[in-house]
């Protein structure tokens, strides 16, 4: 591998990127996911994390252009030069440009956008070309790359880690993780899949797991899979609980003894706050799950085998709590990982199982797999 002369690299580990415009060769979401996947290739082997912004100047500005496009490095029509990118730095530096005279595709029928983007983003992070013909950073495009089994070569990993080192546990995570660090991104249809937290959000469902979340809309069969940091850069990974207060259009996210409020893409100012501000005793160190009951305007917080009830109008805990979960939710007799309310039912998640609970009949009406919502 080689780096650029002077070894330019980013002095921070959290970088922003912005897709300034889109090629017409692909649907926008295909471009979004190709770029996101290309960034994840580098994210997985470094301490770097990336979040997308939609306006203003990002560290990495991504654009499609033809011919002369303002950087004294004109593109040359179909074939030959496919794209170029600039080493880390301000302004043009760090940016990646793609020649829109190429036919950009999701497969290798044309020029595969993911593959070229992963290469160009290697430049944006400070890698120059590699003489190793197996390396992603080899300068000549290889249309025979097996996309299904794409992996960085050791040369690529050595190169990027010579600049940024290996992935590190995030500062608020223990150096030696107490729970087993997930070997790779969780498999959506793994029958043993469990969730850290689940929540509704404006009619969609969010299923949080480690650094990622699945986003499921009832209108679209296939769920989307995203990095938490790609939507909410300041949120931690491995969240404990989440719930939507639909009357306020806010989702509250809990981790250990703190919680954040998000409205759409925006984390609300003044957060994180301590959970003790909600009225929990100092003995409560974390919340397992939470759900907002929109009929009663109350929020239920589940902690081990007990639960608290919070009055969203009075903004205080109701007296007489905590109570045993199983007393008021008969059949919900195991630790609750996550819970949300939909169609008048509460869905309690515990490990790989999910209990559909009817609050009117006061009983569990179905037992499902936790990932039953993900169209497995």
């Amino acid at each position: 591998f080689t780096t650029f002369p002077g070894m330019p690299k980013w002095r921070k580990t959290h970088l922003t990127y912005r897709i300034v415009n889109y090629t017409l060769d692909l649907p926008r979401d295909a471009v979004d996911s190709a770029i996101e996947k290309a960034l994840k290739v580098w994210e997985e082997v470094t301490p770097l994390t990336f979040s997308k912004i939609y306006e203003g100047e990002a560290d990495i500005m991504i654009a499609f252009a033809v011919g002369y496009h303002g950087d004294f490095n004109a593109f040359d029509g179909p074939g030959k030069v496919l794209a170029h990118a600039y080493p880390p730095g301000l302004g043009l530096y760090g940016d990646a440009h793609f020649d829109d005279d190429e036919q950009w595709t999701k497969d290798t029928a044309g020029t595969n956008l993911f593959l070229v983007a992963a290469h160009e983003l290697g430049h944006s992070l400070g890698l120059s070309h590699s003489a190793n013909t197996e390396a992603l950073m080899y300068p000549v495009y290889n249309p025979f790359t097996d996309l299904a089994r794409f992996r960085l070569s050791q040369d690529d990993v050595n190169g990027i880690q010579s600049l940024y080192g290996p992935p590190s546990a995030s500062p608020d995570e223990p150096v030696v993780p107490t729970e087993s660090v997930p070997p790779e991104t969780p498999a959506m249809c793994d029958p043993t899949l469990s969730f850290d937290a689940v929540s509704t959000l404006r009619g969609e469902f969010l299923f949080f797991k480690d650094r990622h979340f699945w986003r499921k809309s009832l209108r679209i069969l296939e769920p989307e899979f995203h990095l938490i940091s790609s939507f909410w850069p300041s949120l931690p990974s491995g969240v404990d609980a989440a719930y939507e207060d639909t009357s306020k259009d806010i989702v509250f996210i809990f981790k250990r003894n703190q919680f954040w409020a998000i409205r759409g893409n925006e984390v609300q100012a003044g957060y994180p706050r301590g959970i003790q501000t909600l009225g929990f005793p100092s003995t409560v160190k974390k919340i397992d799950a939470a759900v907002f009951d929109k009929q009663k305007k109350k929020t239920y917080f589940f902690v081990e085998d007990k639960y608290w009830r919070f009055d969203e109008k009075k903004q205080s805990m109701d007296p007489g709590f905590p109570r045993q979960i199983v007393e008021d939710f008969p059949g919900v007799d195991s630790k609750v990982d996550a819970v949300f309310e939909a169609f008048g039912f509460f869905y309690f998640f515990s490990g790989s199982s999910q209990l559909e609970y009817d609050p009117n009949a006061r009983k569990v009406t179905h037992i499902l797999k936790s990932n039953s919502w993900l169209n497995c």
Binding site: V81, A83, H84, A85, H123, A131, P139, V140, Y141
Partner: protein
Amino acid sequence: YPLNGASRDENSMELVQHYLEKYYNLAKEVKPFFRRKDSSPVVKKIQEMQKFLGLEVTGKLDSDTLEVMHKPRCGVPDVGS
């Protein structure tokens, strides 16, 4: 029409010159020598390119070398800034 050989040869010379200037820092002032493929700065640059791209280092514009030079690639130089 020029003989095919000559035009092809002409094209590949232009291609090589452009390629070496863009990706291997071939200084533009070497131009006078370029008409003779065997001028040493150009040969050295061809060898440098062949070595970087994993080709047999012959210093000559053999078909393998020309083939790789025609392939789509990244626009960032292979050497130099």
